[in-house]
Symmetry: C2
């Protein structure tokens, strides 16, 4: 490896001058600056990021922790984070845990071992050990989408409650009286916020929520599938369903298809989270679209500011939007 000393020698200056020249420090003659740069170029010199990080006590790596990078929601968050990070010349270390506690632990060490300058995280919120470690330890931390119990850190999220209230309101307005909700784990604040919106919408319409119709703790395609199956099997089954997130929706759609029910005739479907293929599904799915990419952008911004020394940042709430397609109709509509 060609190092700074080689450049210094070739340019006939000291190593100190080399760093300064390469940083375009004002206190260096244009002449020497040029000489150094030529030398560096001739030698194909690239400063060691590792040595620099050690010397400065700060790396140029941002961490992003997500449950599943294959989930398009998180992929978009990642892209947003990375785009903004790249502008600031940071790289991103992405850890997609698959909910594996071992992986989460590995990550925690990383944030402590100086690899990362900061971390943006969406934790599953269930692994106490992980969150404890996270909260106890050092380094800028930003939360994305939800805040695990007991973690103090700025959060970027969306207006879960309000958008849900509006969207479910539409369903009620269509005349549905038996609306199911396939909700996530009770300890996800996103789940409780969306559930709260669900209840508020009912209250707005002077209706009461049938608690048998709200299913808790479902996650992923399989969660959505089994929950929907149960819902379909109910003696008096719901005429509409509101799904907690994108994967749950996919699972529910599969269950509906399996039961040969027609959407929206037999079952209206409202999804939280949009997907690029929803417009092509039979029928096109009405969905609440979260600004996932912007969430990533924002998380990076916050992280950068934290790294920059700002000490307290407010939570940021980004607006989701309801995208009307064809999966909502009055109950029994043909």
């Amino acid at each position: 490896m060609t190092g700074i000393r080689d450049v210094a020698r070739l340019a006939g200056v000291s190593t100190a001058t080399v760093t300064r020249a390469l940083r375009d420090d004002a206190s260096v003659t244009a002449a020497t600056k040029a000489r150094v740069k030529v030398a560096a170029a001739r030698l194909d010199y690239v400063p060691s990021a590792v040595a620099r990080a050690l010397s400065q006590g700060r790396s140029n790596l941002l961490g992003l922790f997500v449950p599943d990078i294959v989930n398009p929601f998180y992929a978009q968050v990642a892209q947003g984070l990375e785009d903004r990070a790249a502008e600031a010349r940071y790289h991103c270390v992405i850890v997609s845990s698959h909910l594996d506690p071992e992986r989460e632990r590995h990550l925690v060490t990383s944030i402590q071992d100086g690899t990362l300058a900061g971390l943006a995280a969406t934790t599953v919120g269930t692994d106490e050990a992980f969150t404890a470690a996270l909260s106890g330890k050092r380094g800028p931390l930003v939360l994305v989408d939800r805040r695990p119990r007991g973690i103090k850190a700025p959060l970027v999220r969306t207006n879960n409650r309000k958008i849900t209230r509006d969207a479910v309101g539409r369903l009620l307005g269509l005349g549905h009286t038996r609306i199911a909700m396939i909700s996530g784990p009770r300890d996800f604040d996103t789940a409780s916020q969306r559930l709260s919106g669900f209840r508020l919408a009912h209250r707005d319409a002077n209706r009461t929520v049938d608690e048998d119709l709200v299913r808790h703790g479902h996650l992923g395609e399989s969660g959505g599938f089994t929950a929907m199956r149960e819902l379909i099997a109910m003696p008096s089954r719901p005429t509409a369903v509101f799904c907690f997130n994108n994967l749950v929706t996919v699972g529910a759609l599969n269950a509906i298809r399996e039961a040969r029910l027609k959407i929206p005739t037999d079952m209206s479907v409202l999804a939280f989270d949009d997907m690029s293929l929803f417009p092509l599904v039979d029928p096109p799915i009405t969905a609440i679209a979260q600004p996932a990419y912007e969430m990533g952008l924002t998380a990076a911004d916050m992280l950068l500011r934290l790294i920059d020394g700002e000490t307290t940042l407010p939570d940021i709430v980004l607006p989701s939007t309801l995208i009307m397609r064809d999966s909502l109709a009055p109950p029994g509509f043909t």
Copy 2:
């Protein structure tokens, strides 16, 4: 930050012994080992990965370079790479370039500046400067999916030609005589391999391909959309279309929908790359599924071996499979 010296002091040993003890080196008494570990635990000591990397001349970071992490194909590759990397206690730096040359350049420096122990890359293959830089520079490199012209490095890819030949053969067997192909850029070897399979299938069936029906250089949803639009507008339009990849397929589907054509009655659709929602599209889309996750796993394996000192690795070809759904039918079938 609590460092190794603190631990050494507390345990009453030297820093050398601390490293050894923490590594469970055989040459350390069980007793002192225990003492050191207790001390380390008490102080919440976490070795600096940066310092270690500098000292050892090797980081624990793998790089993954992809055009677009939001594309589920690449997301799956990333997940595979990361899963395998995690087993070996490596983290992954993911760069999703969005085809931005500036970003690509940034990445190239990273691989030169010691941040990364190795790099797995799917380059767009069009930016000469980037590939040149890549090939010239140091460090283990593995190619994923395709090989840009002139880059010497082991590659993990799929059996593009054969699977395409088989799948298009089905279309021919159904009786189609005017099959279109929306292909990618001519300089993608994946495009030429799939195109070659397309031609072979025709030869197998003693048919000749109508060159007007093969559209080159299309990428992404917009590429698929415009290509499909043109195809539909042809005086004697095709009765089937084979799409180069997942995004192109989505674009094509949108164009078909826009033209109010029925699949498969008016147009059979064969997709390269499967998507999780294809089963739910109207109608469910028949697709060639690439083992994207396994490609990531394999890429990580290769990288790890390269890092481990192995010098030459053979290319690896993984098999794709055709997943029959309902988007293929005889021409004009009702």
